[in-house]
Structures are given as structure tokens and as C-alpha cells.
């Protein structure tokens, strides 16, 4: 569907169609974020022996996040007097825009995809790295020491963990010989990469949690140490933008994990293929999201220096070894 549109003539109508689809995707993502937050609160609540939100929107608190967002939107927009005003204002935008940009390349099903880039994976990783700039900018512009520390931590953490993340994926790229996400999914027709590349999966999972700034790697905004990290001075909708970026990334990263390791929209067994691909995707995606929430409610936070050490001294070598091993095995397989 989108494929045809991409090859169609440029014009007002097509622009309109694209714009409309983008808006629809935005709404879908916002809807996801709304309920991801709710799901997170509910699951964490249940794991912690409490109910979670249950006041606004019936027993399940279905409108709780909506109410929260509304509250944030109508909140007074405060900008600290000594903050660097232009940067302070632009930082949430820098933080949020890439999060939405990466959504374009993710294939939700074989048909539903906005941009079937041949370098989809590379595009994702490259664009997602931009968010760090938003965090550092926000932290610096706030003119707050906690925010600055948070921003610096974010930068250090992102740089450290982007590398193992990419390295772990290299194994898959070696196996498929392509950076195109559609082709990666297609390559999992018989067996998912989680089985072929278990080490890569673990490295990728850890690195992705770190990329998402979630517990146990939520150092940039670790409440107990840095109050709220780089978002300390932000409030209202600016703060909401950062939060939104975080949850959109969660959406994107869970999608990417699904695509790379869990076979995307492919059914679990081929005889189950009467179930639409979108449902399969959603199921696998939910499992990943649940895993992230589960981690959050279980683990304590790692320390900054240990985080660095772990990233460079453990994850990177493991990822490298995995690439090496994959290459050898692939060559050996080719021999026969």
C-alpha cells in the first residue's frame, strides 16, 4: 500500500495522503503511549501488590493517562530565569522528533510500513542516536546541576551502549546479508533469530534497555540520585515531550526487537498463519513490552561507573565474539 504510494507522482494529493497517514500513525503511537503507560502502571501495581490506577475511567483506570496528559498540557509553562531559553525550548523537540522519525522504517506487517529502506536498520540506529543531543541540550540549558549531571550521564550512557547494540545486530546482518528490515523478517521464515543468535539477543536486550533509559539503566534521570536528571527543570508539556519520546522509543525498540529476533509478523508455527500478521506482531511486541516492565519492577539501579564498565568490558567483547563466531560458522556452513 505504502509501497505504491512511494512510487507515485509527487503532488498535493499524495502529500495529503502521506500527511494523513502520518497523523494516523502519530495517533496510533500516542494511543499506544497512553496505554503503555497505563499498562506499565498496572503491571507494576500488580507485581507490587497494589491495584494501580483505578479511579479515572472505570475499574481499570482506562482514562488515567489521558487525564494525566491533559493535566500536563494545561499546566503552567515554567522556564527558569537563568536557563538558556532558546535551547531550553528546543531541547524537548530535539528529543522527541527522532523518536517519531524512526517509526517510519519499522515494518509492522508485510504491507504496513511507511518507508521500506534498504538500510532500515542503519537508519533506525543513526536517527535514534540524535535523541541524546536533546537530552544533553535540555540538561545543559536548564542551568541546574542535577540536570547537567543527568545530561552528561545520558550522553555517556548512550554512546557506550549504542556500540554493543549495533555490534549485536551485526550477527543478524551477517546471516541475512541485508540491512533491510523486511528482508530480515523474511529470513526468519523457518527459524527466528533468537534461536540462531541467542547471545546477540541477550546483548541486544540489555543494550536496548540501556538505550531506553529504563531501570536498571535509568541513570540519566535516576530519581534517587539526581532528583529527575535532565528533566529536573522541565514541567508541563515540555516535560511531557520528553516522557513521550521515552515511551515512543519503547514502542520503537520493542518493535525492532520483534522484527530482528522474534520473526516480526510471522506466525509462531506455519499452520497458525490464518491469524493475521498484525496480531502476531502485536503479540510478540506485547511480550517484549511486558519484559521491559517486568525488569523495571524487579531490579535495582546499576551504578554509573559499573554501567560503563559493563558496557565496554562485558557487552562489547561478547558482541564482538558473537560476530566472529557467526562469521566462522557461516563460512563453515558455506563450505559444505
Amino acid at each position: 500500500m505504502v509501497e505504491e504510494l512511494l512510487h507515485s507522482q509527487a503532488g498535493i494529493f499524495n502529500f495529503g495522503v502521506f500527511f494523513l497517514l502520518a497523523v494516523v500513525l502519530l495517533l496510533v503511537v500516542l494511543g499506544f503511549v497512553t496505554y503503555a503507560i497505563l499498562a506499565e502502571r498496572k503491571v507494576m501495581g500488580f507485581m507490587q501488590l497494589r491495584q494501580g490506577p483505578n479511579q479515572v475511567g472505570g475499574r481499570w483506570g482506562l482514562l488515567q493517562t489521558v487525564a494525566d496528559v491533559l493535566k500536563l498540557l494545561v499546566k503552567e509553562d515554567t522556564i527558569p530565569k537563568l536557563a538558556d531559553k532558546p535551547l531550553f525550548i528546543i531541547a524537548p523537540v530535539i528529543g522527541f522528533a527522532p523518536a517519531f522519525m524512526v517509526m517510519a522504517t519499522i515494518p509492522f506487517t508485510d504491507k504496513l510500513q511507511f518507508a521500506d529502506l534498504s538500510v532500515g536498520l542503519l537508519y533506525y540506529i543513526a536517527i535514534s542516536g540524535l535523541t541524546t543531543i536533546g537530552m544533553v541540550t535540555g540538561g545543559w540549558a536548564s542551568n541546574n546541576k542535577y540536570a547537567l549531571l543527568g545530561g552528561m550521564r545520558a550522553a555517556a550512557q548512550m554512546i557506550s551502549y549504542e556500540i554493543p547494540l549495533v555490534m549485536s545486530v551485526l550477527g543478524i546482518i551477517l546471516l541475512t546479508g541485508s540491512l533491510n528490515l523486511n528482508e530480515i523478517v523474511a529470513a526468519q521464515e523457518n527459524v527466528w533469530f533468537i534461536l540462531l543468535q541467542p547471545v546477540a539477543f541477550i546483548v541486544f536486550l540489555i543494550a536496548s534497555v540501556a538505550e531506553l533509559n529504563r531501570i536498571p539503566f535509568d541513570l540519566p534521570e535516576s530519581e534517587n540520585e539526581l532528583v529527575a536528571g535532565f528533566t529536573t527543570e522541565y514541567s508541563g508539556f515540555r516535560w511531557a515531550m520528553f516522557m513521550l519520546a521515552e515511551y515512543v522509543y519503547m514502542f520503537a525498540m520493542a518493535s525492532l526487537t520483534t522484527v530482528l529476533f522474534l520473526g516480526g509478523w510471522l506466525p509462531l508455527f506455519s499452520f497458525l498463519d490464518f491469524i493475521p500478521g498484525a496480531v502476531w506482531f502485536a503479540l510478540k511486541f506485547t511480550v517484549v513490552i511486558f519484559l521491559l516492565i517486568w525488569f523495571r519492577s524487579t531490579f535495582p539501579r546499576i551504578r554509573a561507573d559499573q554501567l560503563m564498565e559493563f558496557g565496554w568490558k562485558v557487552l562489547l567483547p561478547v558482541a564482538l565474539a558473537n560476530i566472529f563466531l557467526t562469521a566462522i560458522i557461516k563460512e563453515v556452513m558455506n563450505l559444505f
Partner: protein, 366 residues
């Protein structure tokens, strides 16, 4: 080398991890602390000055508000001081009620510490697990004394209320339940590698330093000093119970963690025995004059609170108000070592170290 610049960072008094209104002025280089200066007094209510105009019974509610996490021990130390001066023999039943209340309070206090410490380290769930059990203890104490936190339960010469019907049984039922949950705590946290990395070797000091800095309680026992006033200078009826004094010799946050969790188990042991031995009947209040007047002179008693050695000094001139009342507040003394421990540590470790000291700001500021 890069040229770096020191900056001043204010941690608190409204920082999430300072457990109240505690403030630390840090000189940091990057995230490394060069110098830490604690600032206290934000919660100073002048209990000791207020007490000079109050009768002994009237002071008891004020003691509730010092260490508000284990108010029973605070109640006790004041009553114990007055009783020591007046040479009052407290009835046996009252002593048992006091011990049960205090040990329940100790378990509750350590649970709060455990939960908040893990929260400081970024784990959110332990707090809620700990508070579920603590809630049960608080409900028990609520049934006994009529309040959830500020019990105002003990009186000079005994206690205010007798145990309600079936209360001792409820306490006895709670003990095995708590033991079961304690196993869960160990499963969830004690073996967790991330947690171990956060506490092992952090905030380390030696036995000599601990003694020199007047540390007490778990902060002292974590260095291998086997000293517990309940055991070594038995007050009340603690000499009737068989329990151990948990000791570790690491002197770091990990040792303190282990000591505190082990202390919960020992407290449960005491509770178990106290419930068994609980006398079927008896007075709960000794024969004391209606208006309590400590004899002229002075007394200093110390007992073991969950946070360490809590003491009470009374100088009396024979009137119904103390001439001078002074509490030795363990948190206040324990906190002194903090600047030394923080030197050269990172901000993440600051939280870990401060949490492991286990302070209650109401007690620090008095």
C-alpha cells in the same frame, strides 16, 4: 589530563533520597565528591527545651515524634530513665507487653529501612513488599495502643493498655508469616547481582573507626563488635530470652544490610518466646504516685533502639518536671561519620552510603 572544575551541589533538604529534611553540601568534581558537609536542624523542634516545662507523662507523646519509625523504643527509654531514678519495679505483664511492642517496632523499623534503602538503589518493589508486612505490624500496634505511629503507649511504671483479647495470638500468628516473607526478601534482593555490586565494599570503615565515631547499633555490629545492650546490659526482661546478636565483619553497606535482616529474625525469636511466656494475668501498671516526681539527682540510661544506642539523661530537682532532659539520639551520632565516608565517592554511592547508615531525621534533629 582534562582540566576540571569543582562545583557545589546541594543535596537536600528536599531531595528524594535524604530521608527527610537532611541537607548535604557537596563539593564535586564531575560525579566524584571532594568534600561533603552535612547540614542538619531543619526538623529541630526543641524537644528537650519543651520537656523542661512538662510533666514526665506529658513528655511521652513528644518522644513518639523523635524516632517516628520506632516510637516504642523512645517511649521506653524515657519511662525507663524515670523508673530507674524512682526505683520502680514494673509488673511482669507490663514488661512483656513492652518487649513485644518494642520488638514489633524493631521489625517494622528494619522493614522500613529495607524498603527505603532498596528504593534509594532504584528498586521500587521491595518498598511495597516491606510495607505490606509493616502495615500488619502497625495494625497490631494500633490495636494495642490506639495509634499507628505515635503510640504514646508506655507510662512510667507500666503501659497504658492491656493487650486486647486475642492480640497475643495474632502476634504469634504473625511471626511465622514474617519468617516466610523474609525468605522472599532474600530471594528478591539479597542474591541480586546488581544490588550486590551497589553495596559490597561501599562505605567501609573499621571497628576502631566505628567506636571512635560513637557509632552504635547495626552500624557498629557490621564491623564485628558483638555488642547489643539487650544482651550485654539487659534491661527490662531481655535476659529471659534466647537470641543471638548478629555480627558481620565487613564494615560496609553489605554487612549492615545483612546485620539488619538478621536482626529481624532475632527479633522474631524474641517475640516468639515472649508470646509463649506471656503471663496469663497481672498488673500492667506499678503503684506509682499520681504525679510523678523523680528524686533529686541525675540519671543516664541507654537501651538498644533499631538504630542503635538510644539514651535518656534526666537531671531532676525533685519536681514533677525534669530540670534537664537529654536524649542520646543514635541517628545523630551515627550520622557523624558520613563526611568521612563520602570523601572520594560518587553521587550514586552517596545514596547507598547514606541509606545504609539508616537515619531518621526526626531523631537527628531532636
Amino acid at each position: 589530563m582534562l582540566r576540571t572544575e569543582e562545583m557545589l551541589l546541594n543535596v537536600g533538604p528536599q531531595h528524594p533520597s535524604t530521608h527527610g529534611v537532611f541537607r548535604l553540601v557537596l563539593k564535586i568534581d564531575g560525579e566524584i565528591i571532594k568534600e561533603a558537609k552535612p547540614v542538619i536542624g531543619y526538623l529541630h523542634r526543641g524537644t528537650e527545651k519543651l520537656a523542661e516545662d512538662l510533666q514526665y507523662t506529658q513528655i511521652i507523646p513528644y518522644t513518639d515524634r523523635m524516632d517516628y519509625v520506632s516510637a516504642m523504643t523512645n517511649n521506653y527509654v524515657l519511662c525507663h530513665a524515670v523508673e530507674t531514678m524512682m526505683d520502680i519495679k514494673v509488673p511482669e505483664r507490663a514488661e512483656y507487653l513492652r518487649v513485644i511492642a518494642m520488638e514489633l517496632g524493631r521489625v517494622a523499623s528494619h522493614l522500613v529501612w529495607w524498603g527505603t534503602y532498596l528504593l534509594d538503589l532504584g528498586a521500587t518493589s521491595p518498598l511495597l513488599y516491606a510495607f505490606r508486612e509493616r502495615e500488619m505490624i502497625i495494625n497490631l500496634l494500633n490495636e494495642l495502643s490506639g495509634a499507628r505511629l505515635t503510640f504514646n503507649y508506655m507510662r512510667v511504671g507500666g503501659v497504658k493498655w492491656d493487650a486486647p483479647e486475642g492480640w497475643i495470638e495474632k502476634v504469634a500468628e504473625f511471626i511465622p508469616y514474617m519468617r516466610e516473607q523474609l525468605k522472599g526478601y532474600h530471594t528478591l534482593v539479597t542474591g541480586n547481582e546488581i544490588f550486590l555490586n551497589r553495596v559490597k565494599g561501599i562505605g567501609k570503615y573499621t571497628k576502631e573507626e566505628a567506636i571512635n565515631f560513637s557509632l552504635s547499633g547495626a552500624n557498629l555490629r557490621c564491623t564485628g563488635v558483638k555488642w547489643d545492650l539487650r544482651k550485654n546490659e539487659p534491661y527490662s526482661i531481655y535476659d529471659r530470652f534466647d537470641f543471638d546478636v548478629p555480627v558481620q565483619d565487613g564494615g560496609d553497606a553489605w554487612a549492615r544490610y545483612q546485620v539488619r535482616l538478621a536482626e529481624i529474625e532475632e527479633s522474631l525469636k524474641i517475640l516468639e518466646q515472649a508470646c509463649e511466656q506471656f503471663p496469663a494475668e497481672g498488673d500492667i501498671l506499678a503503684k506509682v504516685p499520681k504525679i510523678i516526681k523523680a528524686p533529686k539527682g541525675e540519671a543516664f540510661v541507654r537501651i538498644e533502639s533499631p538504630r542503635g544506642e538510644i539514651g535518656c539523661y534526666i537531671a531532676s530537682d525533685g519536681k514533677k518536671e525534669p530540670y534537664r532532659l537529654k536524649f542520646r539520639r543514635p541517628s545523630f551520632y551515627n550520622l557523624q561519620i558520613l563526611p568521612k565516608l563520602l570523601e572520594g565517592e560518587s553521587i550514586a554511592n552517596l545514596i547507598s552510603i547514606l541509606g545504609a547508615v539508616d537515619i531518621i531525621l526526626g531523631e537527628v534533629d531532636g
